[in-house]
Symmetry: C2
Subunit: 199 residues, 2 copies
């Protein structure tokens, strides 16, 4: 037989893919087995329950974002560079782990109370890094003093988390341009500055 055996990680990866596409409750164990060329029951040689799969995928999503933000915060630049690094790191996670991210963002709420609580606190921790960098920028004087760090961090994360809903890798917009576009709208908005010294 030439078929390679499936590992536990194959199953988790396929679960991430299917949960992202059809949702947790919209994916049956038989669906998932079929994706791997197995019967649904055969999955139980590798895992204990369907919910374990969701926990595993969602935890991975949380970890990816936190790790990326760790890396972004280690730079020695000011708030502007740090914010841009956070944005770039987030975009990288979304584009490099699209299925995990989609499951993390959309299906985590299907977890039972205790697991969901862990995810929520990880998400809060992640969001606080954006908030802190924005606060820092306000203190440094590079961001306007009337900027509300909390709500602004929510807005930036809203843009970042929506990427999975519309971005297509073959859509003619590479990730550098995407980061650039997000960074520009976040920092400068769209309004033309009042002209001050024309010529």
């Amino acid at each position: 037989m030439v078929t390679t055996r499936n590992t536990r990680e194959d199953i988790v990866a396929a679960a991430g893919r299917m949960f992202a596409d059809k949702g947790y409750h919209g994916t049956s164990m038989r669906d998932l087995g079929g994706e791997l060329g197995l019967l649904g029951s055969s999955l139980y040689s590798h895992i204990d329950s369907k919910e374990d799969l969701l926990v595993e995928v969602v935890d991975e999503g949380a970890r990816l974002f936190l790790d990326a933000s760790d890396r972004a915060m280690t730079g020695d630049g000011g708030a502007e560079q740090k914010l841009r690094a956070l944005i770039a790191g987030h975009v990288d996670v979304v584009l490099d782990h699209l299925d995990v991210v989609r499951t993390y963002l959309n299906e985590a709420r299907m977890l039972d109370e205790s697991h969901r609580a862990r995810v929520v606190s990880a998400r809060d921790e992640y969001e606080s890094r954006f908030r802190d960098v924005i606060s820092q920028g306000v203190e440094e004087g590079v961001f306007r003093s009337d900027v509300d760090a909390k709500i602004t961090s929510i807005f930036i994360l809203s843009i970042l988390n929506a990427i999975e809903r519309w971005y297509r890798p073959d859509g003619g917009l590479d990730r550098t341009s995407l980061v650039e576009a997000i960074d520009r709208v976040a920092t400068s908005g769209i309004q033309k500055p009042a002209s001050r010294v024309p010529r």
Copy 2:
């Protein structure tokens, strides 16, 4: 007996509520009946199928947004005012019809192909109104000429559509301030304009 009877609209409303909370596939007809003090089977005195309920809720969501944008576009202001009206109208729809909106945004993809296609085209139409207003603003010269209307409209809608994920009516942020905050970050960003006469 004092209990009032349930109408079809009660059922659709409850369906919107439950689909928003637990997802379409996460809500059983017995769950839904229980929400109304009925057996699951009793729902079929009013409806033909579970999917019909989803279609009805999602269609309502699409209609709410399109109607709001119709109203916003009738003003005679410039692009800046129109964009702000679009934002304010969107926020009103989200906050006044939270369950319908959550189902519209998160569960429409569970519809079968033909129904989903209708929703996608309604969403495209709605998005194009944001895009057109932004293009108009660029032509008018009130928005910077390097603004990409397509991607910018996506970003603004990302912020607007994420509201359902975090906003709490009792959270100390009223809707006027919310609209104001979105409008400001969209038009002005967060960066402090370069000062020209330092010191």
